[in-house]
Symmetry: C2
């Protein structure tokens, strides 16, 4: 699973961690019962957290994931604390085989 | 759900976010099919990320959670990158009602 986070929002580390966890839980629930979820869990549920620097860049990643038929879950913040309501903060892609991510997130940097 | 992270390990923000997500996913899977999971999801899967400053302090939190009969999932790092293998990095408590957390994590600070 890859989770892509917007680094331009200036989220604190706890806030960002919560958003990443929202995305990972959503992706897990969407994959419930699937072979790809079982394979990922058996592998120790590996996660890589990457960054983008704008909403547009996150949108591009989501579009590439959809084009490559990878499952995507996007997270909008409820806006109770640091951000405006409805702000897109991150997206989880997968679970999927490692090599499926390369054309979608291969050029992104670690968060 | 409350996730308690060790701030003394000096984890980078992406590393910490991945550990928090591991814990949240583990807690979600453990609660699969339960009324407490359904209630939490219906509420927008709220998460609070708190900090402790040692392995001993995290152990104390885990012990209090168990004493209060709250579900707990602890995460040990596989040690492939920043940490020694088997390092306890964080723990997820819940999902549970908001007021159940007070005696367990009420004195902890935000991560």
């Amino acid at each position: 699973m890859v989770i892509v986070v917007r680094a331009d929002l200036g989220m604190g580390r706890g806030k960002a961690a919560a958003q990443v966890a929202h995305a990972a839980v959503a992706a897990t629930l969407t994959a419930a019962g699937s072979p790809r979820l079982r394979a990922w869990l058996a592998d120790g549920q590996p996660k890589v957290v990457l960054r983008v620097d704008s909403a547009a860049a996150l949108g591009d990643v989501v579009a590439r994931a959809v084009a490559h038929r990878l499952p995507v879950e996007t997270i909008e913040d409820a806006g109770r604390t640091q951000l405006e309501p409805g702000t897109l903060t991150c997206a989880a892609i997968g679970p999927a085989d490692d090599d499926a991510f390369e054309p979608v997130t291969g050029e992104l940097r670690l968060y």
